[in-house]
């Protein structure tokens, strides 16, 4: 963990404690998750208790305190996606990947997450992987999609 990265991000916000949420988001963007050491450094740099930093990092669903896989699969469970069968799509991910929500496959390729609406509700069920949106998902498409990411990783 490079603490300089944390310092750089903290400096970007002039070490203002009101920017705590944004700082954590930027760290996660760079590190893919929130490492403990980074949280400790944030507390030191902002001169706030570590408890406050941990409280923030565990309150907001966007954060992960565990390392995540190369492909983070966000299954939308918003209402629009739900009524079109998002639950079944999520089941399929769990079965095919053999992991639960919030977990990462042993090969470090996939992390399974859920999200409450990504604003593409007309196309549900939606799955977002990284910056890529997959529309009108069903069980078959899930398997096909995972295969293609595996292939991409193999290349």
């Amino acid at each position: 963990m490079e603490l300089e990265m944390v310092d750089r991000i903290v400096d970007r916000y002039d070490a203002r404690s009101s920017a705590l949420l944004a700082i954590l988001q930027d760290i996660q963007q760079e590190a893919n998750y929130l490492p403990q050491a980074a949280l400790r450094q944030v507390a030191r740099r902002l001169d706030i208790p570590l408890t406050r930093v941990v409280r923030m990092a565990t309150f907001y669903a966007a954060f992960s305190l565990k390392p995540r896989g190369r492909f983070v699969c966000n299954v939308c469970l918003g209402t629009a996606c739900h009524v079109r069968g998002a639950g079944r799509v999520l089941d399929q991910f769990q079965r095919t990947l053999g992991i639960g929500v919030g977990e990462t496959t042993d090969d470090g390729l996939f992390t399974l997450q859920t999200v409450n609406c990504v604003g593409a509700c007309a196309l549900g069920p939606v799955v977002v992987v990284g910056e890529q949106y997959h529309r009108e998902m069903n069980n078959r498409k899930v398997d096909r999609m995972l295969k293609s990411y595996r292939k991409q990783a193999g290349e």
């Binding site: 966007a62 079944r88 409450n116």
Partner: protein, 622 residues
């Protein structure tokens, strides 16, 4: 270019823009909202640009990404201006034809036209689409003709004109508040509180700084109105906020603006950031805007994936760098909000309405809508409806008109069962109330609410007990967890409803749910808790029979609750294609090729994969 220092400079610039514009220029507008982007619009835009280059016509034809047009069903959408020829479900491989045939030769490409399923007619022009014909697009109307990343597009269409006119005509801040009060504008974020009254209380609250905030947290899962407004016309929100800052804090106080935007909306955030930069460059934000004496700028704050942060006090705590825990509002946020200062919070759509009202005039605005709900409302019409997308209709339009005329009815010829409005705080309205005019008060009366504008259409295959379970599950994780009634109450209601969907319901469960609903509603600290029972109560009220079937007969009439259904193969339909056996994740289906297959019930986990893949509809659900 130097920033404008007066309205005269702004007007001159706008004049020059208009003169330079060729209204007959061919512009290929590609909808580039999140929906179309998710459907391949990025590749399409690249292909179109390449085709333009290859045809060597970039002097006559341009490709323009725009915000969401609303008709997401046809994503990706292309509109070729000036004739406004509409193409739906366009692929990159169509790019060359669109450029060479339509843009250059004026030819219409038949296969890309939308076919009206009712009449079988092909729709050529955007305006003829039945989906748009019944709408009243005050806010969304310009989306297909505006590049949201170009402030000049907004300016050329008279943008920032409402603000300039206030300065030109020296309309006092108090007079603006009067106008907003008279317009009848009510907050679009949920509660429907009169915007003018809120502005007034905030203006009158003492404080050295007055904060003006835009709530773009859009917590309702399954709704994307605010996202689309920010993606498609961010300057309308900025202009509204500038006018708000002037009306609320000028000249007696300092003003500062914030937009709190949902973190799941990267595109909206990106466009908003561009718009803010461009507004600053032009001197429309910053010190002494247009020489008015008003200094105002806007900071963007990203949410962290928390529904409760849409609540006003939680939102402010979040901006201050704390977890989004609501506090008791015995002192209102207009008096003591962000950092203890007077703070005025309005929703995205509320802000976007402000310049519209001032431009069209209060009288004309009041003519739209119902007695106590004026203007239009944007709904995200999704679920089991044919034309999913964003619709903007006058307040008071009936559910029937919205779902059947604008929305084109229910998908796959199924029967309309209910519509959910108001998100997790709202309720399910049954088919029997289809003639209900949609406005703030009428929705409240039937046990739902306007909310921010989510409208989720459900058909006979949607289980209403399951819907209640869904919202309780959402709310038990989204509650901040501070107060015991909200945290424990919702979790325990979830236990009961979840039990019912698993066939473990007991007599008395419904009554116990109603008792718990009362305490959660009456004794919770914030509106997340006090409205949380609505989805349960409204489904109990209108779909009691469905609860009874689950509890007493262990039967799910909509055939959705996994524990209560069985999949079977209809023998005389099965062709033995083996598709089901191949996809079955638990090897519960056996059979020889070309012979009837069999589902072994003890292995079946009701995942529905076989049902999905069967090419001859030979799988039944009971």
């Amino acid at each position: 270019m130097a920033p404008f220092s007066s309205t005269a400079e702004l007007h001159a610039y706008q004049q020059a823009l208009v003169e330079r514009r060729d209204p007959d220029r061919t512009v290929i507008a590609v909808c580039y909202g999140t929906g179309c982007k998710a459907s391949g619009a990025t590749e399409l835009i690249d292909a179109l640009k390449k085709a333009v280059q290859e045809a060597g016509c970039s002097d006559r034809v341009s490709v323009m990404p725009t915000g969401c047009h609303g008709f997401c069903e046809g994503a990706p959408l292309v509109v070729v201006h000036p004739r406004r020829i509409l193409y739906t479900k366009v692929k990159p491989r169509h790019a060359a034809d669109i450029v060479n045939k339509t843009a250059l030769a004026g030819e219409v490409i038949e296969p890309l036209l939308f076919v009206d399923p009712d009449t079988g007619n092909k729709v050529v022009h955007e305006g003829e689409l039945p989906f748009y014909a019944h709408q009243h697009r005050l806010l969304l109307g310009r989306h297909s003709t505006t590049n949201p990343e170009e402030i000049d597009d907004y300016l050329a269409n008279g943008g920032y004109g409402a603000w300039a006119r206030i300065l030109d005509e020296q309309i006092a801040p108090e007079a603006i508040i009067e106008l907003i009060k008279k317009s009848g504008l009510r907050g679009r974020g949920g509660g429907g509180f009169p915007a003018g009254r809120k502005w007034d209380s905030c203006r009158n609250a003492p404080g050295e700084v007055h904060y003006v905030i835009c709530n773009a947290d859009e917590g309702d899962p399954g709704a994307f109105m605010d996202e689309s407004v920010l993606e498609g016309n961010p300057h309308s929100v900025i202009e509204g906020m500038i006018i708000g800052a002037y009306a609320i804090g000028f000249p007696h106080s300092r003003t500062e603006g914030y937009v709190y935007i949902r973190h799941e909306y990267p595109l909206a955030r990106h466009r908003l950031a561009i718009a803010l930069d461009q507004a600053r460059e032009k001197g429309l934000l910053g010190d002494n805007i247009l020489g008015s004496g008003l200094s105002f700028d806007i900071t963007v704050n990203r949410g962290g994936g928390a529904f409760v942060c849409g609540e006003s006090t939680a939102l402010m705590a979040s901006i201050e760098g704390f977890p989004g825990e609501p506090r008791a509002k015995h002192i209102h946020t207009v008096v003591s909000g962000l950092y203890g200062m007077p703070t005025n919070l309005n929703n995205v759509e509320t802000w976007a309405n402000v310049p519209v009202i001032l431009n069209m005039g209060v009288q004309a605005y009041r003519a739209i809508g119902t007695e106590h709900s004026k203007g239009t409302k944007i709904f995200s019409l999704v679920g089991k409806v044919n034309n999913t997308g964003l619709v903007e209709v006058p307040m008071g339009m009936t559910l029937k008109d919205i779902i059947f005329q604008v929305g084109g009815g229910i998908r796959n010829g199924k029967r309309f069962k209910a519509v959910q409005t108001g998100g997790p705080s709202g309720g399910c309205i049954p088919a029997s109330l289809i003639d209900l005019p949609v406005d703030f008060d009428r929705l409240d009366e039937v046990g739902s609410m306007m909310g921010s504008g989510g409208m989720i259409v459900m058909d006979e295959t949607t289980c209403m007990v399951e819907v209640a379970r869904y919202f309780l599950n959402f709310l038990r994780s989204e509650s901040c967890g501070k107060c015991s009634t909200c945290r424990e109450g919702i979790a325990r209601m979830y236990d009961i409803v979840e039990g019912i969907t698993r066939g473990e319901g007991k007599p008395g469960d419904v009554e116990l749910l109603e008792e718990l609903a009362e305490v959660v509603r009456e004794a919770s600290l914030c509106a997340l808790g006090t409205t949380a029972p609505n989805p349960v109560l409204s489904t109990i009220r209108y779909f009691a029979e469905e609860y009874r079937a689950h509890i007493e007969e262990k039967r799910c009439p909509a055939k959705q609750c996994k524990a209560l259904i069985t999949y079977r193969i209809i023998e005389d339909r099965c062709t033995g294609c083996t598709a089901c056996a191949k996809i079955c994740p638990t090897d519960a289906i056996t059979g020889v090729k070309d012979q009837v297959h069999l589902i072994h019930q003890e292995k079946c986990i009701q995942c529905g994969s076989c049902y999905e893949v069967c090419p001859v509809d030979a799988i039944s659900v009971e």
